[in-house]
């Protein structure tokens, strides 16, 4: 734990235990999403599915990166991850992004993906709101993750016909915003 780090965040008025619980729940959401997206990606096949596979893969890898980026902050603030992987799964801040009943229904698959991203966008907005002007490092991290979650949402939303995402797919490396937190 980084004692002074925690102390200054507490003195700024943040309930650090509450914040830690949120960070752990969101870390759980990232790692479980990485797992569920693996299954979704594998099932994105055929003429429709193949076109979406690439962005599902980028989102999958970036969600794993988000998990990796969150862990150091959790420990800096004096928190820890649960020892039980099942408990970790069940405390996720977002519901499981399970494969739809008909795995050949690409639209249903996209709905699962976009709902997962929307849950993440809400979660990191909450953390940004809690930490803005009070816990600069957590805010910076949550904001970086939020940037990427918003892009994921807009990619999947575009494929659902909700309107243009406004930007291109990743070209080259993943996690343009979160990269600085990955050691």
């Amino acid at each position: 734990m980084a004692k002074v780090t925690r102390e200054v965040v507490e003195r700024a008025g943040v309930d650090v235990d509450q914040l830690l619980e949120l960070l752990v729940k969101n870390a759980a959401a990232e790692l479980t999403t990485y797992y569920y997206y693996t299954i979704l990606r594998v099932n994105l096949i055929g003429l429709e599915g193949e076109g979406i596979k690439e962005i599902a893969e980028a989102a999958r890898i970036e969600d794993r990166n988000h998990f990796e980026a969150l862990v150091p902050r959790i420990y800096e603030l004096g928190g820890s991850l649960p020892g039980d992987m099942k408990a970790f799964h069940d405390m996720s801040a977002c519901p499981p992004a399970s494969l739809p009943e008909d795995p050949t229904d690409v639209k249903a698959l996209l709905k699962v993906l976009v709902e997962a991203e929307r849950c993440a966008v809400r979660g990191y907005t909450q953390i940004c709101n809690m930490t803005f002007g009070k816990d600069h490092r957590t805010y910076d991290l949550a904001l970086a993750i939020l940037h990427e979650e918003i892009q994921h949402e807009s990619w999947f939303s575009e494929f659902l016909g909700e309107g243009p995402s406004g930007h291109f797919l990743r070209r080259g490396e993943t996690s343009p915003f979160v990269r600085k937190f990955l050691e």
Partner: protein, 86 residues
């Protein structure tokens, strides 16, 4: 439709086998089946068995998400009105 006072509602806190109910703008919703309300808690900050009308103003989502849950009653606020300040 069943009427809930704040005391009635408080019993439906999602713990010890009780369903999880929340009130919003006079309606009572059953959120027991939601993954995000396990154990009667929502995103660390909110507890079931309460009127969340004010809390939702600060939430990173709108009231449309409540449409996913069944309405089980109406909320009659039993809190005594505040006496006017001097």
């Amino acid at each position: 439709m069943r009427q809930f006072t704040s005391e009635d509602l408080a019993r439906y806190n999602g713990r010890d086998g009780m369903p999880a109910y929340v009130a919003y703008k006079g309606r009572v919703y059953d959120v027991s089946d939601s993954f995000l309300w396990q154990g009667g808690r929502h995103q660390v900050l909110h507890d079931a068995g309460a009127d969340l009308t004010a809390a939702l103003e600060q939430a990173p989502h709108g009231e449309d998400l409540l449409d996913r849950f069944p309405v089980v009653g109406v909320f009659i606020d039993s809190t005594p009105p505040r006496s006017p300040g001097r």
